[in-house]
Symmetry: C2
Subunit: 290 residues, 2 copies
């Protein structure tokens, strides 16, 4: 096996995730040149200043043509148009991957553009991130000991899969393979659903007549609980559209259990409440303290 090394990384989207990947790869010494592409020139200039990228390129095709690794770190809603722009100039040997939070929609976008899926496309999703956006929030340790799910397609080339795996391992991450559909179901439950609940909770309270007072009396637990409601609205809009089948399924499951709980509270059902809270506490303590 050749040692893993990227001659030229083309990073499309230099935000907190893409920027952190760049920092981590540079820190690991496995990349020669990092070229950033993005719509916001100020952000790209800042990324150069911060040393996150070596230079930026305004012409997407120019940036892609000489890269051996292309990473799409853009909102899910932008994937298809970027595939369209880079398709004509994508080198046959260039590895293509992304960091999107849903994977079915990325594969579908690729099918729409390329007709047959490129063997060098290996979709991936780092299970890491903060509620902060932008290159200022990027740091090399973000993926350290975190999980990265890669979801090779049926036609993904073995070498390409290995390259994407090696890239993330170089960042200190643990890489797991999963099929696309399963990824989207698991993430709907563990990430997309909690975000919907946090957004809905904050919005429900904000719409109450005495909302200022209500937030005034919120304790520390409330802050933790709603931290994820500070996440980027555009990103979460995109995730909802991209993963709406799995998300609706788990939202309905949650709603039905919340309805049961509400009815139990209404009829003062001691046994139900004790059993449910104890079961949940046990599950949380067991699973989250591993």
């Amino acid at each position: 096996m050749d040692e893993f090394f990227i001659q030229q990384l083309c990073l499309i989207g230099v935000g907190s995730i893409g920027g952190s990947l760049a920092c981590a790869l540079r820190k690991a010494g496995v990349v020669k040149e990092i070229v950033g592409v993005g719509r916001n020139i100020e952000n790209l200039k800042r990324a150069v200043q911060l040393g996150v990228i070596d230079r930026y390129e305004q012409d997407l095709q120019k940036a892609v043509v000489s890269a051996d690794m292309v990473v799409l770190a853009v909102p899910l809603g932008a994937m298809e148009s970027i595939f369209k722009s880079i398709a004509p100039c994508l080198n046959k040997n260039t590895i293509l991957t992304d960091v999107g939070s849903a994977k079915g929609s990325v594969v579908q976008a690729a099918v729409n553009v390329f007709e047959t899926l490129p063997p060098n496309l290996v979709p991936a999703h780092p299970i890491a991130g903060t509620e902060k956006s932008g290159v200022e929030a990027a740091f090399a340790e973000l993926f350290n000991a975190r999980r990265i799910i890669i979801t090779p397609t049926a036609v993904s080339d073995k070498h390409a899969v290995l390259q994407v795996r090696s890239m993330w391992e170089a960042c200190g991450a643990e890489v797991i393979e999963m099929d696309v559909e399963h990824h989207d179901e698991v993430l709907a439950a563990t990430s997309h659903l909690p975000h919907m609940l946090a957004y809905t909770l904050v919005d429900t309270l904000a719409r109450m007549d005495d909302s200022q007072e209500i937030f005034d009396y919120a304790a520390g637990g409330f802050r933790d609980f709603t931290r994820i409601a500070s996440s980027d609205p555009q990103m979460w809009h995109d995730i909802c559209l991209a993963n709406h089948v799995a998300l609706v399924k788990v939202l309905e499951r949650f709603s039905s259990e919340l309805k049961e709980l509400t009815e139990a509270v209404q009829r003062n059902d001691s046994d139900y409440l004790k059993a449910m809270f104890s079961r949940a506490k046990r599950a949380r303590d067991t699973f989250c303290n591993k």
Copy 2:
């Protein structure tokens, strides 16, 4: 105004909240003797070892008769039976207060026992706490710069209100007065509802076929979001029964907004999703960063 000082504090329930109150009062030098009462002798012995209380008393009536301040720091479901036990020997001058998370049920329990409310009863609720239980989790700084809501009744004596206020101010807390019903509505929204959501989320996921795998892929946000599902099930059972009217109201309000969101996801309603997430992020950033 006389300087605030407690000759003998009778602390009924020496857990994390009661214990922290004891530690804070001692640190502030405003108490001579702290006598703990509780059902669990081992816990009381531990509290003496830790220096949280001076001594413990197994006979509730003996502990109450010579106290100038009695604090009930027990689950809401135990309030009425404790009122019953102490009623015959409660000194006319003794101040009586509690730390329950709902206030209407405490006042109702007092009405049931005393027939007419004692003028020296001043219900209170510290907006502080952790998901950890027991005297081991007690520390003097828990209430520092935190809010304490006191909810005097229509017949509460002015001097008694002042004493309870002074006690909490001595712990470094900010004391606010509120009427009982309003307290219960505000807390249902900011504390009781989030706990119901966290318990329901964890339980929904735990009941899925691939629950172990699902929890394996949960990221940091999930840990924060579900931390409160590790809270004491008995305590939350009691809170649900005690505050079920206000809680059901806010649960239904939340469910109806979650249903709207689910429908918006289902029909890929871009405008709805963007507007809702942006509104929630704005509210969260504005209210919680004050």
